[in-house]
């Protein structure tokens, strides 16, 4: 088995390369082309070069959308990572009841985003909603908090609902990661007299390094392009308080019928996603694929 390419190997990568070209590369290049057009999606298009790019950075909307997107990414990471990590460690335990609990924790991931959005917007309704009614019965707040219609709260609430939806998935990643850690490490630690906490910080966390990286990359790139739940919950409102980049892209292209501007935002999103992945891998050494289990 040499490491060079022979014709069988070329043949075998053909399907993957073709699919990647047709469904990823080609649409991306088309988006770059569209970004230079003044076009309403039907009728005739006019090539205007970089005009759309100038317009995007000229008005404050896109900048605002970029700031919001970064906020969502940060909030998503902050909400999801610690909770998923702890839940994953907890669920990796061998006690029987934990498997049952795991099934419950997993449920939100099985729902469609639209169902989650509709359900939460009913629960958070300021006039008829469950959340305000519960808080009122507990004498917390005024019972009239406008969760999704308050410009200062909306993005935070949306990020929490996104976290609610995706924590189960990341818990699953961590659960798998923890189960990979050899028991011998913990046994050695116990013999050395380590407490539960110190074995968590000295064994579990370092051993989960690559799981944390994987999960973080998924959270960051996922929230970069997050759209469906926000569309259902707030439609980018109130005002434009939750108009993140993906939302802005959709509105420009399909509501304002300005395919050119929408494509500019799409290209920005694609480039940002790729850069983000590369940077994360670079800074964490994930791409060197070194083993943490050497010598064991």
């Amino acid at each position: 088995m040499g490491s060079g390419m022979n014709w069988q190997r070329w043949l075998m990568i053909v399907p993957a390369v073709v699919f990647f070209a047709v469904f990823a590369l080609f649409p991306m290049l088309m988006a770059v082309y569209y970004s230079g057009l003044t076009w309403n999606g039907i009728g005739s298009a006019k090539w205007v070069g970089l005009l759309n790019w100038g317009n995007v950075f000229h008005d404050g909307e896109a900048l605002h959308a970029i700031v919001l997107t970064v906020e969502v990414m940060v909030l998503s990471w902050v909400f999801q990572t610690p909770i998923s990590l702890l839940l994953g460690v907890f669920l990796a335990g061998r006690q029987k009841h934990r498997a049952v609990l795991g099934v419950f924790y997993f449920v939100p991931l099985l729902f469609s985003s639209v169902a989650i959005g509709v359900t939460w917007s009913y629960m958070l309704n300021p006039n008829f909603g469950l959340v305000d009614a519960l808080l009122k019965s507990l004498h917390i707040g005024n019972g009239n908090q406008n969760w999704l219609g308050n410009t200062h709260l909306a993005l935070l609430v949306v990020s929490m609902i996104i976290a609610w939806q995706f924590i189960p998935f990341h818990s699953l990643l961590y659960q798998g990661g923890v189960k990979q850690i050899p028991d011998s490490l913990y046994e050695a630690a116990t013999i050395d007299g380590a407490s539960v906490w110190s074995s968590f910080f000295s064994i579990t966390l370092p051993q989960l390094k690559y799981t944390i990286i994987t999960s973080s990359v998924l959270i960051l790139t996922g929230s970069l392009t997050y759209f469906d739940l926000i569309y259902v919950l707030t439609d980018g409102g109130p005002g434009n308080a939750t108009t993140v980049l993906a939302m802005d892209m959709y509105k420009q292209a399909f509501v304002n019928q300005n395919i050119g501007l929408g494509s500019v935002l799409a290209v920005i999103l694609a480039v940002a996603g790729v850069l983000l992945s590369i940077l994360t891998l670079r800074f964490t050494g994930f791409n060197r694929m070194e083993s943490q289990l050497e010598g064991m």
Binding site: I42, G43, D59, S121, L124, N125, P126, N127, F128, N144, Q145, N146, W147, L148, G149, N150, T151, T234, D235, G237, P238, G239, N240, K251, F254, V255, N256, Q257, N258
Partner: protein
């Protein structure tokens, strides 16, 4: 219903867009959509005419009946109606027009879109046909003809029902606090104060959907500055959004917001899901400014509320010192049928418009499903109908209106309309001052 349908449809907009690509992809075949009417007895003398329409449900049945009745009474003309979804239709008709392969008769909303077809020479001028038959010309309410009248020439006739925006109120709540429906702006502020003091939300507003905000803007600007203020925007005059009427209207809107006129959390209340109406009929709110379809919403959600006579309706209050006529209204005037210039059977088309559209039986059918057609002299018919009070009130509003302003978001290009809705939503949240609003909107004027 246009707005409501539009809003509901927007949920599935992705699917609809995809579908529209498929539909329009069919190019010049004219066999898409559901067909009705058209018996197969085509002789050499028969002329066949095709009509494109967008009605759904009970309204669609009314249109089908109209076409079938016409085909029976006119054996020499066979009419066929094809129905399309609202949003894809707009693109389909645009492409069909551009390809010079339109249907004989097409539906539309008048205003800017129709104007662009007229300018391209695609629409048949109905003026001389109407002038030669005064009973036909006088069939319709004058205020409804404006969106299809350009430079004194008429390019379409109304074909369904009127939907003016009115002020609904909860009679029980008003009675409890000895209030009367507000006649003037000061009355309104006073009613707001009283209701607020008793812990009732004075006005219910579906701010999440943004288009309900627009109704306040449309009415206030017309009351303060008259119809010309917005006409200047449509005409693309530089800095048209800086008209003092906009600044004053927006100041008054914020005055209303700051007086606590709207329910807690109005910016996340959805009108498309009937939440604003629910506040009104549950007595949690006193008033609601809504298009006439608001009646149908309450009828389907809480029929007892209407049957017990608890739903009141009134016109938008007047603004002291305003230039606009107090009888002016805003909303959706009607849908219209126009004839394409590419049609080969124009005489048959005109006969169809004259003999079938809003003829006595067609008018009766519209009234039977609770709609008010824009036709002269149907007062007694409306009074005798179920919910006749309401139908008559709607009818009189339209009949007495010197100006019926079509919804701005229909009258403006899509990107300007979208920015308007976003900025208005910010204005209602005090995130934007009236001055900032005008400055920002001025950027969108295309000269």
């Amino acid at each position: 219903m246009l707005k409501r349908q539009k809003a509901l449809l927007s949920t599935g907009v992705g699917i609809v867009l995809t579908a529209s690509v498929l539909v329009t992809g069919c190019g010049n075949s004219s066999t898409g959509g559901n067909s009705s009417g058209g018996s197969s007895g085509t002789s050499s003398k028969t002329s066949a005419i095709t009509i494109w329409d967008i009605q759904t449900g009970a309204s669609q049945q009314v249109v089908k009946n109209m076409s079938q009745a016409f085909n029976k009474s006119h054996p020499d003309i066979q009419s066929t109606v094809q129905f399309f979804e609202n949003d894809p239709y707009k693109q389909k008709i645009q492409i069909a027009m551009g390809a010079h392969n339109p249907p004989d008769i097409f539906t539309g909303w008048g205003g800017g879109v129709l104007k662009s077809y007229i300018d391209a020479g695609d629409v048949y001028d109905l003026t001389s046909d109407l002038n030669s038959d005064s009973s036909w010309a006088n069939r319709f309410l004058p205020s409804v003809m404006k969106p299809v009248t350009f430079d004194g020439k008429v390019y379409g006739i109304p074909n369904d029902n009127v939907q003016p925006v009115m002020l609904f109120y909860n009679k029980q709540v008003f009675k409890q606090y000895n209030l009367t429906p507000p006649k003037t702006w000061d009355d309104l502020l006073n009613d707001v104060k009283v209701l607020k003091a008793h812990g009732v939300a004075p006005i219910s507003l579906g701010g999440k959907d943004q288009w309900p905000d627009l109704m306040y803007e449309e009415y206030l600007v017309d009351r303060i500055g008259g119809p010309d203020v917005f006409n200047n925007v449509v005409a693309g005059k530089a800095n048209a959004w800086s008209d003092p009427a906009f600044l004053k209207a927006n100041t008054m809107i914020q005055q209303l917001v700051n007086a606590g006129a709207f329910e807690q959390g109005f910016s996340s209340v959805s009108s498309n899901q009937g939440e604003d109406a629910a506040l009104l009929y549950t007595g949690k709110a006193g008033m609601e400014l809504m298009g006439s379809w608001g009646f149908a919403t309450i009828l389907s959600d809480d029929k007892a509320f209407i049957d017990q006579g608890n739903l009141g309706f009134s016109t938008f209050p007047t603004v002291p010192g305003g230039k606009g006529d107090a009888n002016d209204i805003v909303g959706n005037p009607s849908n219209y049928y126009s004839i394409s210039n590419d049609s080969k059977n124009k005489q048959a088309d005109v006969t169809f418009l004259k003999d079938a559209v809003l003829d006595p039986q067609n008018v009766k059918d519209w009234i039977s499903i609770g709609d008010v057609p824009p036709v002269q002299g149907i007062e007694s018919e409306l009074k005798q109908a179920t919910y006749g009070d309401y139908l008559s009130f709607t009818y009189d509003m339209v009949k007495n209106a010197p100006n019926f302003q079509a919804s701005w978001d229909q009258a403006l290009p899509p990107s300007e309309a979208q920015e308007l809705l976003t900025d208005l939503s910010k204005l209602f949240l005090n995130q934007m001052t009236p001055q900032q609003f005008s400055d920002d909107m001025n950027k969108y004027i295309k000269s």
